[in-house]
């Protein structure tokens, strides 16, 4: 074995004399700790016997732990995937040898706090049988994405120490231009010689790996940074490159950097070689640089050219507590104890066990902790070599730490703020840019474990950020909920306002004086409602966008968009209401006296229009139903048709009313072309002829004593009632529009038509018409009954045969008359209540009262005449009729009076 010095001296000269062709950009600070590399760099890489057990942590890399895809008891082959990558920033775990899975669960691992982590435990079977491998020989023809997938599937993660998934690092964003590919072979930490030996022994394979990297990211230049304390490695790499470049167009350059810790830090090496600085909290690709460890390049080459996943690595085993320090190729998952036994550890000397280098490594608390993908070194140090740290003394702000900080921080200030947990100030002093290299703690005269303080503070900051994110999310959720509630409230409010508005408008129609004021208030309220609705809509849109941006699940987005649509509709409605309301006062702003009238007519118009629309839509539905029925051959077609006809007439009437009203408001003198009176007349004629036919058939039936006499008679009654109603209608129409009938065009007539037309659409008017019809029906029924009764008495006197039968008929007739009467009374009461409630127009009330008076008067006259003729029965009947009429007249008078009183109006 050569002594390290004899190897080093001649080559060191040659390495240093071989000047770099490019300038080296120094970085701030840095230290020169004792190198302690000679212990381990003088022997070739050795292979290790199969360990009795392999412990494979699921998280040997930065990112999410891998997901196990094997079960306890499974037999696995060498290179078989045991756990799959879980997410983008994650890599799979493979079996380093063939064997049986004996456990999946927490085991002691390399962890700063000595915590356990989930592992797969593999018991080797000693056969070391490979699974099927798929080498890619023609990788130069492969697309980068294929190779990147292979690298990812092979579980390659940064082997320099951080363990960042390599596939992620070389998978550049579209359009990223890389100037420099930097290969990190600096190995600046004391003790470690793994990369040194790897370069000496496997330089050709490393260069092939670099070629793959060049193929993947296409850099302008490729630089390998090696510290000048590795002359053999520098020579080996240069030779390999020269050898390879003969038949390769790419250019790889070895750049020798002066020995200084931490030149091997990614950011520091990039600065040394390129003079570029990686932006704070950014990545090297942002400045056109990709940096990879040479061990990683080799692992990529093995993964692609041999189809071998990352299942072993070179690890330095060194320290005063081992007899044969050196480098070994060790299977991932090998317990450190196996490694120590191989190197001949003396237990009584072992004081501190470090995985990684002495500057940034972690102390191990147990011997069965496994070697992982990032384990470049195991230091078994004696207590003399790395003694217990000295007691921490007060910081005297000497500034030595600031002098050596490679990130140009003020570690003394960071220490102060970290210690007092003043995280805001610590971040102000760029705490998060600390790379934890330990240079500050190395030079600290007060023995302050500075890095520990920074790690603590950084952890606290990350925790705070996580908490902040959580709080932000919660706040967003709360705000979305609040917006939803507000929107609902706004909708409710808008509806309420609309209702209020409607009732106000109604009131406005009757109350002249306060029209303008209330209108203004209404508009304000409506505007407010509209604003609320539109703001709710906007909030909802925002919430929707946020949800979309955050890629919330589809149902949530859909619900939100539906909500948005609803809100939009509501907002539009509210806007329309505002517009309507705004236009209303404009029309009524002319003068004080005609404001109310105009508003009232507006309201009427609106009501009429909506009634007309409703009626026509009802008609259309009915027609449709009828057609369907016809097609189906249903029996009730006739019925439906009748229904449709009725509806059509209603719709027509409504339309006509609208038209009338329109013309009425638009022009002072209407020219009503359609004459409702004529129609009515015709209808009356039809109805009365039908009635007469019916009466005739009844009489015939009476004569023939037919069974369906009662039926026929009732039919006749119905017809009669209809006819009577039509007659009444005709009379009303005539009374209402006498001038129209006469085809005269006076203003009074127009007013009358205008007044009357809306009334037809009024349910109260309908009721009045029905009341009249009932009255007539009652009168006729009463008359029939009396006649029948008289006939019956005559029959009794003359000793007719079928007295009983006739008496029953008479009773029936009487009951019918009484039923009609009861119905009529009910209607009268209703009308009274209705009048009281709605304050129906006074004119009709007056008319009603006048008609009742005149009817009463004529009845009294008739009674007087009947008294003279001294027909007792007739007199009785007349008395009854007179009483009824009297009551009716009283009711009408009372209704008129109460309406006048209630509405507080002077006599119109």
């Amino acid at each position: 074995m050569n002594s390290p010095l004899t190897i080093k001296s001649p080559l060191a000269k040659s390495a240093k004399s071989a000047k770099n062709s490019r300038p080296i950009f120094d970085f701030h600070g840095g230290i020169h700790p004792p190198e302690n590399k000679v212990q381990s760099n003088s022997t070739p890489i050795q292979t290790l016997a199969l360990p009795p057990l392999l412990i494979l942590p699921l998280n040997m890399h930065i990112g999410a732990p891998a997901k196990p895809i094997v079960n306890i008891g499974d037999r696995v082959l060498k290179g078989q995937k045991l756990a799959d990558a879980n997410g983008v920033v994650s890599v799979p775990v493979h079996a380093p040898t063939s064997g049986t899975i004996t456990a999946i669960g927490p085991r002691a691992v390399q962890h700063p706090s000595g915590l356990d982590a989930p592992c797969i435990v593999l018991q080797p079977d000693g056969e070391d049988r490979w699974t099927e491998r798929h080498p890619i020989h023609n990788w130069r023809e492969c697309s980068p994405s294929t190779l990147i997938t292979r690298i990812r599937e092979a579980g390659v993660a940064g082997m320099g120490g951080a363990g960042f998934p390599s596939a992620v690092k070389v998978n550049l964003k579209q359009g990223t231009q890389i100037q420099q590919l930097v290969l990190n072979a600096v190995e600046c930490e004391p003790y470690i010689t793994a990369d040194d030996l790897l370069m000496r022994e496997r330089a050709d394979d490393i260069v092939r790996g670099i070629h793959i990297l060049q193929h993947l990211i296409k850099p302008h230049e490729t630089l390998i940074g090696i510290e000048d304390n590795k002359p053999l490695a520098i020579a080996a790499m240069r030779a390999a490159i020269e050898n390879a470049e003969k038949n390769n167009g790419g250019s790889i350059e070895v750049v020798v950097v002066p020995t200084k810790y931490p030149s091997g830090g990614e950011k520091q090496l990039i600065q040394l070689l390129t003079g570029k600085e990686v932006p704070s909290s950014g990545i090297p690709a942002q400045v056109g640089v990709v940096c990879q460890n040479i061990g990683t390049a080799l692992a990529m080459y093995r993964a692609i050219a041999f189809g071998e996943p990352l299942i072993s690595r070179i690890t330095t085993i060194t320290g005063d507590a081992v007899k044969q320090p050196g480098n070994v190729e060790v299977l991932i998952g090998t317990p450190v104890s196996h490694l120590l036994n191989h190197a001949g550890v003396s237990d009584d000397k072992l004081g501190r066990l470090i995985m990684g280098g002495p500057m940034m490594g972690f102390t191990l608390h147990a011997l069965d902790i496994p070697v992982v993908k990032t384990s470049n070194c195991v230091i078994a140090a004696s207590k003399e070599e790395l003694p217990e740290p000295a007691t921490e003394q007060p910081c005297i702000r000497c500034g030595s730490c600031a002098e050596v900080c490679p990130a140009d921080l003020l570690p003394q200030q960071l220490y102060w703020y970290s210690k007092t947990s003043d995280l805001e100030r610590a971040q102000q002093y760029n705490l998060m840019d600390c790379i934890e290299c330990g240079a500050c703690a190395y030079v600290c005269p007060s023995n302050i474990p500075l890095v520990q303080y920074y790690r603590f503070a950084k952890g606290e900051v990350r925790h705070q950020v996580a908490e902040q994110n959580k709080a932000d999310k919660a706040r967003e959720r709360f705000e979305a909920r609040q917006a939803r509630i507000d929107k609902e409230l706004a909708e409710k409010e808008a509806r309420r306002q609309a209702r209020l508005e409607a009732s106000r408008q109604k009131a406005l129609g009757q109350v002249d004086a306060k029209a303008d004021a209330s209108n203004n208030i209404d508009i304000k309220a409506i505007k407010a409602a509209s604003l609320a609705a539109s703001s709710a809509y906007k909030a909802a849109v925002k919430a929707l966008k946020t949800a979309q941006a955050e890629e919330a699940d589809a149902s949530e987005v859909a619900a939100l968009s539906a909500q948005v649509d609803q809100l939009k509709a509501a907002a539009d409605q509210a806007k329309a209401a505002v517009r309507d309301a705004a236009s209303a006062p404009t029309s009524s702003s002319g003068g004080a006296s005609d404001t109310a009238a105009a508003t009232q007519s507006d309201i009427h118009m609106k009501a009429l229009k909506s009634a007309a629309l409703e009626a026509s839509s009802a008609y259309k539905t009915a027609v449709k139903a009828m057609k369907t029925a016809e097609e189906n051959g249903d029996g009730n077609v006739a019925e439906l048709r009748a229904h449709a006809d009725t509806l059509k007439s209603t719709a027509d009437a409504a339309k006509a009313a609208v038209r009338d009203a329109n013309t009425g408001t638009a022009m002072p003198a209407p020219t009503s072309t359609i004459d409702p009176v004529e129609t009515l007349k015709k209808a009356v004629l039809d109805a009365s002829s039908a009635y007469k036919a019916a009466v005739k058939s009844v009489k015939e039936a009476e004569l023939s004593d037919a069974d369906n006499l009662a039926e026929l008679r009732s039919e006749a009654d119905v017809l009669k009632r209809k006819a009577d109603q039509l007659k009444v209608d005709l009379r009303d129409a005539k009374a209402a529009a006498p001038n129209v009938v006469k085809e005269s065009t006076t203003t009074e007539a127009a007013t009358a038509t205008q007044e009357h037309a809306p009334n037809t659409a009024d349910p109260i008017a309908e009721r009045a018409a029905k009341m009249k019809a009932l009255k007539t029906a009652y009168n006729s029924a009463n008359k029939i009954w009396k006649e029948a009764n008289a006939a019956l008495e005559r029959g009794i006197r003359e000793g007719a045969e079928n007295i009983d039968e006739r008496r029953a008929k008479v009773d029936l007739l009487k009951a019918r008359a009484e039923g009609t009467r009861a119905e009529l009374n009910e209607l009268v009461d209703q009308a009274k209540a209705g009048i009281r409630a709605s304050g129906s127009d006074l004119k009709s009330l007056k008319l009603e009262a006048a008609r009742a008076e005149s009817a009463l008067g004529s009845k009294i006259k008739e009674l007087e005449e009947a008294k003279k003729s001294a027909d007792e029965e007739r007199i009785n009947v007349l008395y009854q009729e007179r009483d009824m009429l009297k009551r009716e007249a009283e009711l009408a008078a009372n209704a008129l009076k109460s309406a006048v009183d209630e509405q507080g109006l002077s006599d119109v």
Partner: protein, 341 residues
């Protein structure tokens, strides 16, 4: 097997601790102390020994009261440094009680009451010095004329206060003389004390000795060059233009640089890391402003020398200076200036 589990790094620079730093500072004061003794007699050494004993005793007492590990904290030599710097600063003719008051105040009030080493906002030695200068101005300005060094017995008698007529044994310092006769060319020319080889007679050697010690500290990496360079540049920046304007009224730059406590202050007092600014640029500004203040107070103030006042005033400003002189961190476009809120 008990494995040590600690945070990285696992190795530190050998022989690198606060005590070692402080010892280096003490070694660096030796040339200056030697020159002072050679020029002014044993008074300096007697006072220095007494001051160190007082400092260690009072420090131990306060540490005991505070419940701290006395041996551990005394071994950082910070109390010794305070005592030595104060003893160098006060005249060699000082009686024992003057030293006692100064050192006790420096250790107990200016240092320990603030929390001990690393926590004091002001340089303790200078706090003690200023207390004495304000309270006992007569005793504090009785310097010995150079080359009239007292014998050991005279020094002891002075130390114990057994000599009534102290004035006979003392003389004005070059700074004092200049202050008295500034603007008077005849008088200035007639005082030999103002005309040494480099600057004021005698004091030039004192300052050169401290410059030597200071350069040693820089060479050993105990202090950085920033504060001394700042102080000297500050003095120079003020003295040179004014001297060029009027060399009768204003002392020449060399006179200012090599008189009084300029070099002691620049290399040993202003560089006290605890109370000084800590960033590189901050230290330059800190030092420069001290230099400016020293010249201003010497020229226009009521005291012949001004190092103590200048240092204390800048101690007051150090946190603010640090706040605005953060270096540009790696990966950042610009240095942070103040807190962004």
């Amino acid at each position: 097997m008990a494995l040590i589990t600690v945070s990285s790094p696992h190795t530190t620079r050998k022989g690198n601790h606060t005590g070692a730093f402080m010892r280096q500072v003490l070694y660096a004061t030796l040339p200056g102390i030697a020159v002072l003794t050679w020029l002014f007699g044993y008074g300096t050494l007697i006072n220095l020994s007494f001051a160190v004993i007082v400092a260690l005793l009072t420090e131990a007492l306060v540490l005991k009261i505070r419940g701290r590990d006395i041996r551990f904290y005394l071994s950082d030599y910070s109390a010794v440094i305070t005592a030595v710097l104060l003893a160098i600063a006060i005249p060699p003719t000082s009686p024992w009680w003057l030293t006692l008051v100064g050192v006790t105040f420096a250790i107990v009030i200016a240092k320990q009451l603030y929390g001990g080493l690393g926590m004091n906002p002001f340089n303790p030695a200078m706090v003690g010095y200023v207390l004495l200068l304000i309270s006992f101005p007569a005793e504090m300005t009785r310097w010995v004329a150079p080359n009239e060094a007292h014998s050991f017995s005279t020094s002891l008698q002075l130390f114990f206060g057994h000599i009534g007529d102290v004035d006979a044994l003392t003389g004005a310092t070059p700074l004092d003389t200049w202050r008295t006769w500034a603007g008077n060319a005849e008088q200035l020319a007639s005082h030999p004390i103002l005309h040494g080889n480099v600057a004021g007679m005698g004091w030039e050697w004192v300052n050169l000795a401290f410059l030597l010690g200071g350069l040693y500290l820089i060479a050993r990496g105990i202090i950085t060059w920033h504060i001394p360079a700042g102080v000297l540049a500050g003095v120079l920046a003020m003295a040179l233009p004014f001297w060029l304007i009027d060399d009768i009224r204003y002392g020449d730059p060399l006179f200012h640089l090599f008189s009084g406590a300029t070099m002691l202050g620049a290399f040993f007092i202003a560089t006290d890391p605890v109370s000084a600014a800590t960033s590189r640029n901050g230290r330059l500004i800190f030092g420069f402003l001290i230099g400016v203040l020293v010249w201003v107070i010497r020229t226009f103030g009521g005291y012949p020398d001004a190092m103590a006042f200048a240092v204390l005033l800048l101690n007051l400003s150090a946190p603010t200076i640090d706040y605005y002189t953060q270096p540009r961190t790696y990966g950042h476009k610009a240095a942070k200036r103040g807190a962004r809120k």
